[in-house]
């Protein structure tokens, strides 16, 4: 494989056999601003004769009718999270039907689906294009068990890739918690309700053939809200259950009580407050839990105290953000993925809680995605380096255990991108000289906040000044690294097989930001 250095010094392939050619990463907005206009890919679809029902006799029959052949590309959404039963059921059926060498291109792979590794080993799946990989799937990829290089894409990047045709979905299997006989689908009702069906919308628009899978066929027409209209759906398959509701609709995420996470969150909040960005009309996005979600609690108290109304909240929405909408702290909430059961209720009750698709959310190549309007985003990290690069993909042992998600999208778009992390985890420092895998380049990260200090990107002289004026515990990132290493020590470097790229990290604009190498057992 021919590797070239990109603008942040990482070696990336210029061509991936079976996928295509790539340009190396050259800056967060360079390609976006230099791109000429191009036609979006159009799905090639055969018109359907008028009918009153698209319900197929069963999953097997639907697959037979779909025209799926070996080597083609299938997609799924991951809105059912760890309660999903659709992906395993479809993959098992495909295996039984004798399919081979498919490209598996879900919006992400839920943690619970170790079974995907088995389907790779059995020959059903030849290629994986995903936002993330954990557990056995991550380990399998890191061991080099797949012949074809895996492509990791952010949520915005996947939407871009689908719209430009780099991902050409042949058959999309879209779990629909509520669906009528002609395929109108939504996610907010039904025993397997999951809230927003955001990721599914883009797949439905561009896939060649769309099969809605439901455990809740409602009387025609589905109402009051339709996420995926019938004219995008070819067939409907009814199954007993889309999955485990207790794991789909988890209880509302609570603010952490871990004192360390709270300290990190408090430091992040203090930086946000000092920056002056919490003014009327501000917008922000936080993570699903831990320190990242806890920052929302501090910001909420601040906004209530000062009577500040924000313009919108964005995400990745948890019950806490829905509560803030209810309290009038935002005018609107844009939801590409609902994290807990409280959110489903909010979407149903509150018209200002709006479902969005990932292109609207974060595709940098359209006429305006939401992350570009974001004021503040709070992001997590596995580790970071002294150039402010962030790794959310590979663990301390070099093995795949994370997801790109909206990390690089929101960091690039937000005015103030803050990464929160403990200064060390499991005895290992969080700040390294060089991260194992770059997902989010340092030029898009404004600050890294830990419990032991706030590190501000030197490019942000204004933020340094504001932080110092507010007497915040700012530290130069190299100093923080040394301070922590004094008691943790410096870990031995991970041994990776530099001759074997098992996965590439595609930046949101389609260039390659880093390579992931094989790790020996």
């Amino acid at each position: 494989m021919n590797l070239a250095k990109n603008s942040i010094g990482r070696l990336v392939p210029l061509e991936i056999p079976g996928v295509g050619t790539f340009d190396p990463y050259g800056g967060a907005f360079n390609r976006i601003l230099q791109s000429a206009s191009r036609a979006a890919a159009h799905p090639v679809r055969k018109p359907e004769a008028p009918s009153r029902s698209k319900v197929a006799p069963g999953l097997k029959a639907a697959i037979e009718r779909s025209g799926l052949e070996n080597g083609m590309t299938i997609s799924f959404h991951h809105h059912l999270r760890n309660g999903d039963a659709v992906i395993p059921q479809v993959l098992e059926t495909l295996l039984q039907m004798g399919y081979r060498d498919l490209t598996f291109a879900p919006s992400s792979i839920p943690d619970s689906h170790d079974c995907v590794a088995d389907y790779v080993r059995k020959g059903l799946i030849r290629r994986i294009w995903t936002s993330g990989a954990r557990g056995e799937v991550g380990r399998m990829i890191s061991r080099g068990e797949m012949e074809e290089t895996v492509v990791i894409r952010s949520h915005g990047g996947r939407a871009r890739a689908i719209e430009e045709g780099s991902i050409a979905i042949d058959v999309a299997f879209l779990a629909a918690p509520a669906c009528d006989a002609l395929g109108n689908s939504a996610g907010c009702s039904g025993k397997s309700a999951c809230g927003s069906l955001g990721y599914a919308i883009t797949d439905a628009r561009f896939a060649r053939h769309v099969i809605a899978v439901t455990d809740n066929l409602v009387e025609y027409p589905l109402h009051p809200h339709i996420s995926i209209p019938q004219y995008l759906v070819n067939q409907v398959v009814i199954v007993d259950s889309l999955g485990d509701p207790t794991k789909i609709a988890t209880g509302a995420a609570r603010i952490t009580r871990n004192p360390l996470d709270l300290k990190v969150a408090e430091n992040a909040y203090r930086l946000i407050a000092a920056s002056g960005i919490l003014a009327p009309g501000c917008s922000f996005q936080v993570g699903a839990g831990g320190a990242s979600l806890a920052v929302a609690a501090f910001v909420r108290d601040h906004m209530k105290e000062k009577g500040i109304q924000g313009s919108f909240g964005l995400g990745g929405i948890s019950g806490y953000m829905a509560q803030m909408l209810e309290e009038g702290l935002f005018r609107g909430l844009f939801d590409v993925q609902s994290f807990d059961s409280a959110v489903t209720g909010s979407m149903t009750r509150n018209r200002a809680h709006m479902e969005i698709d990932p292109s609207w959310y974060a595709n940098p190549m359209n006429q305006g995605c939401l992350v570009h309007n974001l004021d503040v985003v709070i992001l997590a990290a596995l580790d970071v380096d002294t150039d402010f690069n962030v790794n959310v993909m590979t663990g301390n042992d070099g093995v795949l255990r994370g997801a790109s998600g909206g990390h690089s999208d929101t960091a690039a778009g937000a005015k103030l991108a803050i990464v929160v992390a403990p200064s060390f985890r499991g005895g290992v420092p969080t700040v390294k000289d060089r991260v194992q895998t770059v997902v989010t380049p340092g030029e898009t990260v404004d600050a890294i906040v830990t419990e032991r200090g706030i590190c501000i990107n030197p490019k942000r002289a204004d933020l340094w000044e504001a932080a110092r004026k507010a007497n915040l515990p700012v530290k130069e990132i190299g100093e923080l690294k040394k301070e922590v290493e004094r008691f943790t020590g410096v870990p031995e470097p991970v041994e990776t097989d530099q001759g074997r790229v098992v996965a590439v990290v595609e930046y949101r604009d389609g260039t390659l930001v880093d390579s992931i190498y094989r790790v020996g057992e």
């Binding site: 663990g395 301390n396 042992d397 499991g426 290992v428 008691f487 020590g489 870990p491 031995e492």
Partner: protein
Amino acid sequence: MGLIRRMGQAGTLESADCLVTVAGAEKDSLDYRGGNRKLFGERTRKLVQETLARFQVSGVQVTIQDQGALELVIRARLETALGRAMKEA
């Protein structure tokens, strides 16, 4: 010269701690388990060696299940485990 009288164990499987077990054996050996075994393998080997020497014992089988403990924590747990293994009844 120290004497290992029985198996000795100290520590917990809580995060940031480690569980250390020592037992008498034909020769010294170290079984270092946990997420950090490749990251701090050499350092841990050295600290075990140095601690056994300090306690003047040999023929010790040491097992460490590391849940992300600092070096000084592993050393402390090993010292306690050895103390428990060596103390008179």
